[in-house]
Symmetry: C2
Subunit: 160 residues, 2 copies
Amino acid sequence: MGKQDYGPIGIATALVRSSFLVNAVYAESSREHGLTPQQGQLLCVLMAQPYGMGELGAILGLAKSSLTGLVDRTERNGLVQREPNPQDSRAVRVGLTSQGGRLVREFYAETCRRIEKLSAGLSATDRDTLASLLGRVVLDNQVPMVFIEPDEGAPAARRY
Amino acid sequence: MGKQDYGPIGIATALVRSSFLVNAVYAESSREHGLTPQQGQLLCVLMAQPYGMGELGAILGLAKSSLTGLVDRTERNGLVQREPNPQDSRAVRVGLTSQGGRLVREFYAETCRRIEKLSAGLSATDRDTLASLLGRVVLDNQVPMVFIEPDEGAPAARRY
DNA sequence: TCGATATAATTCGTGAAGCGAACTATCTGG
DNA sequence: CCAGATAGTTCGCTTCACGAATTATATCGA
């Protein structure tokens, strides 16, 4: 209850501030790779597999018209491409170009490195505890597959 | 190490995804209060006290030209106001209007409520642990005073 | 088979956001 | 008193995000 070291902060404040922190790191890492944060996020999602525009909208929480623009700009930069969907000629599949693939692997690794550094002041045990607790929060809340881990969602579990 | 429940995720992934989650909740709460997330954040910062443009730029991590626009728009909506700084006639103090104060108290409380709900699946003990660990991360990384808690940074500790 | 409806995506117009460069006004140190 | 430094604003630009309207294709039912 003491105030000598600012005292404990509530869960909401802690979550909002850590989110602020992560956003800032993510934005800086994006910028240094010549990406906007949104384009970086798009690439990270596509790292797992190609998606249709509708699926991407659901994953990223964007209106479809917003997504058209984002994909346009990222495509203009040569990082993603639209391919016709053989099953449905209305639809497209958005996937990484080889340049986009190369860039996102670098961007993803570097961003992970920087985000991990944020918890460098914690012991390994505490860091694992934090990862586990946060992992349960994101699992409970059905966070979409943004920022997938390389071996996460093994092929057998993929639906598309 | 098993894969049956997706297995543990790394600290970086956990942080990025929880940040994604928090952003979404924050954005939705803002929207429902007639605010953009940026305007909501500005109001939350000003909840503690008025600040100059330069200070706000440092706190929010924005270029000064970006801040001019943000404060302009929020002022146009009647939520903040610029007041001359008696000590320095170049400078300005940005503070909440009474309408802005009323709105931000409501917005802040409601947003906290929603963010807290994200951890509803955790036991009280786990939630406290999570808050404490995240609290250390934000403290270690010098997160600016965004989303201050009502009794945090008591008047005696304020520098301005 | 044909027509109604649903779905996938794009286009268009609008406003918010963010930046850097250039500018104005004031303050401060020598 | 003048040469910087500092506080903010303005300007031009790009990105981002949305909703409404549109086009094209798919699908379902009669």
